[in-house]
């Protein structure tokens, strides 16, 4: 929970679709999400690749304020968004006002490094089929109830973005698995009906 005085001093509101910052611009602030959602994206070759979707309590743009280098991605509000915009002094004020903030920020960064490391590992898989399956299983959520469905809560287009392959190639691979009854492709998610055989593929 962000203390009100900090919110009054450093709070900033964005409408859905607004850019908080843009890749390549110089950064001097980092942001703590107070409410709403923000998407971190890379734009290349006319397409957008989603790196992360961040929510309340998440921190982003910290590299701009601490390393003073150009932004490496674009941050766009997905909903109405309220953030704390902190420059270095604001960040220090936040660390002093909230003793746990540096530790929380460290944990957030640690988790993001692990995610990025995992992503690099996925992108190093040369076989496109194996890369897609590895991504599906990585992003798969545990069933909410015993015997429940295994679901990867991303569309085919999002999976194609994550694995850095053309959409048509990912669609072709997924259609084969769909025809074999191993997955069910829905508009915004993929249901994995046969997790065991998909996992076996990764071991080949």
């Amino acid at each position: 929970m962000i203390p009100t005085p900090l919110l009054e001093k450093f709070g900033r509101v964005y409408a859905a679709g607004d850019l908080v910052f843009c890749e390549f611009e110089d950064g001097s602030e980092c942001f703590v999400v107070h409410s709403g959602e923000v998407s971190i994206i890379k734009i290349s070759g006319g397409s957008e690749k989603i790196l992360a979707i961040l929510k309340e309590g998440d921190i982003f743009g910290e590299m701009g304020v601490l390393e003073k280098k150009p932004r490496t991605a674009t941050a766009m509000a997905l909903t109405e968004l309220t953030v704390l915009a902190l420059d270095l002094r604001g960040l220090q004020a936040m660390v002093q006002a909230q003793p746990f903030f540096a530790f929380t920020l460290g944990k957030t960064l640690g988790r993001r490094i692990i995610q990025s490391f995992r992503h690099v590992s996925n992108l190093s898989i040369e076989n496109p089929r194996v890369r897609v399956v590895d991504m599906l299983l990585w992003k798969m959520e545990e069933p909410k109830e015993e015997g429940g469905l295994h679901v990867t809560p991303h569309s085919l287009a999002e999976i194609a973005d994550f694995v850095g392959l053309p959409f048509q190639e990912v669609e072709r691979v997924m259609k084969e698995y769909s025809d074999l009854g191993r997955v069910k492709i829905l508009a915004d998610k993929i249901v994995i009906s046969d997790v065991r055989s998909m996992k076996r593929l990764l071991k080949l």
């Binding site: 611009e25 290349s44 790196l51 960064l109 993001r112 692990i114 190093s124 850095g164």
Partner: protein, 217 residues
């Protein structure tokens, strides 16, 4: 509080996939970090640098193998001790966070390189911002495009490029204050172009921009 440990040259401090839960602050010597990911380069850390920070804070198994390249002295610090240090010393907190940022930036650059098939595609700042602005304009996301064109103009591009950018920005403006600001940019450009060796072309372009804005004010 922390235990100082000595590792002889070539000793493995930890292997990839070992459990984490503690960091090592290098006091003396050099440590090589290697990764199982194909194509990843080893890293070398020295005195004052920290091993195992991201995986300990991210509550994950070790993501690299750490080997002593020389005799190494390092302080082993548990996550609990680290939490105490971070919450009691702003400077240590900022140092640790900065170190993590560097690591994250390195990984994010690897992701981008691999997504682009090894093509690092190093845009200059101005070219990159213009590319992003055009992308959003094409998608009809005018507010996002306007923001990116504004940042593009901040990079002080060549006058003709600036005029192109200003023309685009002007076509996307909706609010009076933004139009006023854009007008000021155009007037400044017009003055600059007046002494340009290609004044005719330049002034024609300026007039084109001003006409665009004339309809809106």
């Amino acid at each position: 509080m922390a235990d100082d440990l000595l590792f002889q040259e070539n000793a493995v401090i930890y292997f990839e996939r070992d459990p984490s839960g503690s960091i090592f602050l290098i006091r003396a010597g050099k440590v090589e970090l290697t990764y199982e990911i194909p194509g990843s380069a080893p890293r070398v850390l020295g005195p004052g640098e920290i091993l195992g920070l991201a995986d300990s804070l991210g509550e994950h198994a070790r993501i690299e193998t750490a080997r002593a390249m020389t005799d190494v002295t390092a302080s082993k610090i548990s996550v609990e001790e680290l939490r105490f240090m971070l919450t009691n010393n702003v400077q240590i907190g900022l140092k640790v966070v900065t170190s993590l940022c560097g690591e994250l930036r390195m990984l994010d650059e690897m992701i981008v390189t691999r997504m682009r098939g090894g093509d690092t595609d190093a845009y200059g700042k101005g070219v990159g911002l213009k590319m992003i602005a055009e992308h959003f304009k094409q998608k009809g996301m005018n507010r996002a495009a306007r923001y990116a064109y504004g940042k593009y103009l901040d990079t002080d591009p060549d006058p003709m490029d600036a005029l192109d950018g200003a023309l685009q920005l002007g076509s996307l403006c909706e609010r009076d204050a933004e139009i006023q600001l854009a007008m000021e940019i155009y007037e400044m450009l017009a003055r600059e172009f007046a002494s340009d060796p290609r004044p005719k072309l330049a002034l024609t372009r300026v007039r084109q921009v001003l006409d665009t804005f004339g309809d809106r004010i």
